[in-house]
Amino acid sequence: MQWWTIFQKELLENWRSLKWVWVPIVFILLAIMDPITSYYTPVLLEQFGDLPEGAEINIPTPTPEQAFMSSISQYNLMGLLLILIMTMGLISGERKSGVTELILVKPVRYTNYITAKWASTLLLVLTSSFLGLLASWYYINILFGDLPFSHAMTGFLFHSVWYVLVITISVFLNTLFRVPGLVGFLSVTSVIVLSSINGIFKSQFEWLPPQIHLYIQTFLNSGTLPTDMWITTVLTILLSAILLMLSVFIFKKKELAS
């Protein structure tokens, strides 16, 4: 019940601060931008490119699957950055400002406080991500041809696993430091480092969390879920769970006032 109270308060805060308006819109725009531009670039070039007579434009039109992956790539760059900047003050900001001095002197369970904040952020981000990919799927069907809805949604679900980890990393760093800027910097760094490690070791160890994107691509092209995808998913969820538990543990040990 206390968990629900905090969760509701977070939802209300995100609504009043207009996050529930602008974050979904931004995710939708991020998701549809690439498919639309990649469709119209050749057309526009042909019309207004001022090309010499007889020159041929040879930009291959992407397949529906490739177009959908371009939306997901946007999510991995701009979407990721947006999430990390948005969540960098989730807990550290409240500690820095001093609100926690009023909230956490009430008999609040730290587990409730952290997981409710984590869950409300997840709800906002995943809803936005869902709406964006839904829009992307819709446009792809108009512009590039048929992409099965079930494929798009499976892509969304597995990509969400990656977002869960990203948000959990941010929450974890939020419990370690009380300066939002530092949390933001370190969470971006962690994600970059994680992706680099994956880039180096992916032939030796193919189940690191960032690897999930390759499997989403494989799935979109083949229509079957590779076993490696499941292993990666389970590992990512496990890692998130451990980080979340560590966050609560660290937060309990921390002094709430300085």
């Binding site: 019940m1 206390q2 109270t5 905090i6 308060k9 805060e13 009043r16 601060s17 400002s97 001093g98 609100v99 001095e101 009023l102 909230i103 956490l104 002197v105 009430k106 008999p107 609040v108 002094e255 709430l256 006032a257």
Partner: protein, 302 residues
Amino acid sequence: MAFVSVSGLTKRFDKTDVVHDIAFELEKGNCISLLGPNGAGKTTTLRMLAGLMKPTSGSIVFEGHPAHSDIREVIGYLPQHPVFHYWMTGKEFLVYVGRLAHLSKKDASNRAEVLLEKVGIADAKNRRISKYSGGMKQRLGIAQAMIHQPKLLVLDEPVSALDPIGRREVLNLLEDIKKETTILFSTHILSDAEEVSDELLLMHNGEIVESGRLDDLQFTQDATKLKVSFSQNGDIYAEDIEALESVESVLKEGKHLTINTHNTDQARSEILQLAVERQWPITHFEVSRTSLEDLFMKVVKQ
């Protein structure tokens, strides 16, 4: 057993004890002020009581509460500079913290209404906290501390940031609240402490240097001063006064003499007797109130 007993409480930051081995007991229903200059360790002490900081060593025991239970259930705390969720209304905030303290939705709402009325901001209950004045925020702060009917109300410098009017209002409010619950509040202003508290804990350099009921405390310290002014330079009378047994020292400032004594009554009658006998041209005679500073000088010197 006392309602709250604190013993051996120490808080160390980087090898220095901000609070050093303090012990005190709070009686139920009393209003106790924790008095001391800035940097004495008051805030740290209160934060440890409220469960915001973990003591380096020592214990805080509440009557009827096991040593390791969540003391936050029975404590209401107002920090020195309370920060709210400013996007909430006053009522929403009270209901929120009430729900966090395990009140039902209905109870939290009812209790919030009662408290808003009590602290005098019922008119502004549906306004965003960001629009509140300093005094209103402080009163909302007191209300949120009381939402779960705590057994002990801990207030950190509840009036020091307020203007004279706000200060008066909050002091009156404390006067009213102390009928219902035990209050421990910190201040660096003696007159605030005197006005509302029954008991005093005097803190200096992380230690409790003196404690007791206010009247007793002033009596034992007897840190009063006498101020005498003459129509001409007072230096010539100072010698006679200094010779008196009850007088400790005399400070000469032109026509004015400030006399420190350990026995006010005796010093006063002796000086007045001298004045009558020798026909001193006295224009002003005052038994001055003990200032906090004097009290401290006295206590710290011991």
